[in-house]
Amino acid sequence: MSAELNDGQHHLTAGPEEGQSRRDFLVQGSKTAASIGIAALLGNLGHWALSYAADKEPVKIGVLHSLSGTMAISEVSLRDTVLMAVEEINAKGGVMGRQIKPVVVDPASNWDLFAEKAKQLLLQDKVAVVFGCWTSVSRKSVLPVFEKNNGLLFYPVQYEGEECSRNVFYTGAAVNQQAVPAVEYLMSKEGGGYKKFYLLGTDYVYPRTTNKILRAMLLAKKVPEANIMEEYTPFHHQDYQTIVGKIKKFAAGGGAAVISTINGDSNVPFYKEFANQGLRAEDAPIMAFSVAEDELRGMDTTTLVGHLAAWNYYQSVDTPQNKKFVADFKAYCKKNNLPDGEKRVTDDPIEAAYFGVHVWKQAVEKAGALEVDAVRKAVYGQKFLAPGGEIMMDTGNHHTHKPVLIGEILKDGQFKVVSRSKGLVKPEPWSEYTNPEKGCDWTSHQGTYQKP
């Protein structure tokens, strides 16, 4: 269930199992409730009220994560994390001596609703910052809203890159902080020296863009065209017989690995079929970019053991601040009677959502103001001791310097780190393999620029 589940329930090649339009049909009704006039009225009122407000008024922040619909499984945890971080900060006196007041909305896994709710947060609730989104399509749909109204969004999930917005901070990984190092690891002697790669994904923007970059990278590294296979399946695909059969043939003689950007509920039938056809992780390991602890919580992990994943953080990372973070999160879930309470786990997007809140708080205190432009500049170069180790915000490209960790899936749904990058990896929103001429910088350029 990666960064990108279910982007676009209406991609062109929707299979017959896409019974989603029914659900969209329902939401049509709720759309009519879009309160344009009310928003304008409240906006005025709010403005008037704000000028009247005392310094000790609470600071409002927005939380824009789906609490219902297909994405709820992943996004609810992020809402919990943001609220926990807010509680922590408030307990220590808040931000600039003011308490933080979260405004939680539910965009219900509906991409259009994301834009509407974002508008509501910015214009009606007048929040200082928004923490939210998971899928790329939801991010793309709120992007114009944030840019037009000069809002600020912290986006916590790894994604396909090729974006450089002035109003978004990306605390998840860019492709060069997850997919590229993962494949480099597989090619290295230590990772097994794999020579053949089967790129398998769900059919939409994130896997296709990621695989485009990976293919360019493999060709640049002199992997022959014949040793790269690329294949996509529709959303909710359940029958992986043919594909696993192909992988079996492709992996004959050894030296092959599978790079999986399969997403959501297709992962289970894929791993099951892989194991049932007698393939082992030793024959062809599956390196996944969409499987993290939170999704493994309820999965039957027997078929996944020994396969790999690439993230910037795992719950098993052994640092004192991480032990505390995991314990705090479990305690928070238990205290608030959230489902699964104590049994809840942390994972990469959860960590990224968590330190995003703290980075914002530090930036506000550094800037001494809540104005988006002042805060934005204060975020540049900001450092924070995150649960997984110290991270640093880039000085210009709005992404995050993070470590890269390759992990092996264990029986209990946790990961054992098998390889770790040396220090932090600098984020490259534009990949050197597909867009070597492009860069992203908001300090000395205006966003995306052409490298000389």
Binding site: T13, G15, P16, E17, E18, G19, Q20, R22, R23, L26, S68, T70, A72, I73, K189, E190, D203, E231, Y232, T233, P234, H236, H237, Q238, D239, Q241, T242, I243, G245, K246, K249, A252, G253, G254, G255, D265, V268, P269, K272, E273, A275, N276, Q277, G278, R280, E282, D283, E295, R297, G298, M299, D300, T302, T303, P339, D340
Partner: protein, 512 residues
């Protein structure tokens, strides 16, 4: 037994070392260093000293040495760690060749075959000689042949090429292709040319069998997918086909069956000893059937009963029910539930070289056959079936003849729902248990029923076979996405040609 094998292996090793056929591997050491001395030297900075020591460890080490090696490795520098790891794998796999579990022996053989370490050839040959399981022996022979390809001796190479050809080994293809390329090069020696010639003959053999095995596997996949489609559709064929009720909540009734299976599993986990766990799946079958049938009964009594003969309203109402059920599942179970397949349904059967049938799919194929036979028995060989057919053909006439039509309606609907529950139970073997489970399958089920011809069970069976088989024939060349699109287009075209499906009911439709 094992001792003897080890001694035998060492003797063989030494004999081979004598012929210096092992030059490809650094373990060709006429004098073997004592083990303790070797262990102290494997962390040496000097490459030659280290390699000699490692070779000695390989010669004399066994599984008991692994913890010690692990300790040494943990404290070593990265290049040394990288050098020790393959040696550990080698020793581990060597001892695994004698493991009592056949899949462990087979895994070990596979790993040794791809390790590129010719020192393992005698181990594999010795293990193959005393192996009684056919496919494990096959893997051992194949692994030995793969390793022999890298020996420096022409006769062994030729023998290995022929062996790989005779074994129809797909795993040998990449190495054989390399030999062919080497033989085609302008500066190739006569020996290389000969190897290339034999390799090409071997590849031809392998590919011919590969095409056959592929065809067999494709047919199996088609049947397997068809049986899944069939299991999903039989319930719908009864509810929609015989009763004319468009039940949009049919998928959610499958979901009920799947969650019933999940609940049964959880009960077994918490109440019974672990030894009993594998039996939960059999217990879950009646539970899934009964729960889904009860849900169907309630649905029929509260919603559908009032809407007979009004397909549009039925569709809307049942769709509402499906949304309610889906969200209820999300609220009560969340998205994080999994059913662990019982031991006897994981893994699979190797039937021929390169042909592997997963157990869960064999099981579902058998189940679909049993379901169909059961339905036929019930509908055409029982009193209840006679009444059901009478009511579906002419409700008023049946009522005049004293058949309790209301009851028959309710039972028929419950039975169809129960079958959906069985489908949900079986589907837990394939995918995940989640609130959206029904949504993934409902469209396919309707497609099968409509293509087959509404009201004809035989049509449903033929349509499931046709759609499943065609899908698997098209998928390898078109890919999963376009394969699916293609099937949909074909179904649409087919329905243009025969609007009432494959097996249309002849004459005037009784209930129109």
């Amino acid at each position: 037994m094992r001792q003897a094998a080890m001694v035998w292996a060492v003797i063989l090793c030494l004999a081979q070392a004598g012929t210096s056929a092992l030059a490809a591997d650094s373990s060709a050491q006429p004098v073997i260093m004592p083990l303790e001395q070797a262990l102290t030297q494997i962390t040496s900075e000097d490459d030659t000293v280290r390699d000699t020591a490692l070779a000695a460890v390989i010669q004399q080490g066994d599984a008991t040495l692994l913890p010690r090696l692990d300790e040494i490795r943990a404290g070593a520098e990265r290049p040394i760690r990288l050098a020790i790891k393959p040696v550990m794998d080698l020793i581990r796999n060597r001892s695994n060749l004698d493991d009592p579990a056949s899949h462990v022996r087979r895994s070990a053989a596979t790993d040794l075959g791809t390790s590129g370490r010719v020192v393992a050839i005698p181990w594999l040959e010795a293990a193959a000689a005393k192996e009684d399981k056919k496919w494990v022996r096959y893997t051992m022979q194949e692994a030995a042949a793969l390793l022999k390809l890298s020996l420096n001796d022409q006769a062994s190479k030729l023998e290995a090429i022929d062996t790989l050809g005779a074994l129809s080994s797909q795993n040998g293809v990449p190495a054989l292709q390399e030999m062919m390329t080497a033989g085609r090069a302008s500066n190739s020696t006569d020996a290389q040319k000969e190897l290339a010639k034999r390799s090409s003959a071997a590849i031809e053999r392998i590919e011919t069998w590969g095409a056959w095995s592929n065809a067999i596997e494709t047919i199996f996949r088609g049947i397997s997918l068809s049986s899944i489609l069939l299991i999903m559709s039989v319930g719908l064929a009864i509810v929609f086909g015989l009763m004319g009720v468009i039940n949009m909540a049919h998928g959610e009734l499958m979901m009920v069956g799947a969650y019933a299976t999940f609940l049964t599993q959880e009960l077994f986990k918490s109440l019974l000893p672990p030894a009993m766990f594998d039996y939960y799946f059999a217990f879950a079958l009646p539970v899934a059937f009964v729960l889904a049938a009860l849900s169907g009964l309630i649905l029929e009594a509260t919603v559908i009963r009032f809407l007979y003969g009004r397909p549009l309203e039925t569709m809307l109402a049942t769709w509402g029910v499906s949304l309610v059920l889906m969200q209820a599942a999300r609220v009560y179970f969340g998205d994080l539930t999994a059913v662990v397949a019982p031991g006897w349904l994981s893994g699979g059967q190797q039937v021929m070289v390169g042909v592997f049938f997963p157990n869960n799919r064999l099981f579902i194929i058998a189940l679909s056959i049993i379901c169909v036979l059961g339905i036929y028995g019930l509908l055409f060989r029982s009193n209840l079936g006679l009444r059901v057919r009478a009511v579906t053909q002419n409700r008023n006439m049946s009522a005049c003849l004293g058949i309790p039509t209301r009851k028959v309606d309710a039972y028929t609907f419950a039975f169809g729902s129960g079958l959906a529950g069985i489908a949900g139970w079986a589907l837990t073997l394939i995918g995940n248990v989640e609130p959206g489970l029904g949504q993934n399958y409902i469209v396919d089920s309707f497609m099968v029923v409509v293509t087959g011809g509404v009201g004809k069970l035989a049509g449903t069976i033929v349509a499931a076979l046709g759609i499943g088989g065609l899908n698997k024939v098209l998928e390898p060349s078109l890919g999963a996405v376009y394969g699916k699109v293609c099937i949909l287009v074909l179904v649409i075209l087919f329905l243009q040609w025969r609007p009432s499906g494959l097996f249309a009911i002849k004459g005037r439709h009784a209930d129109s």
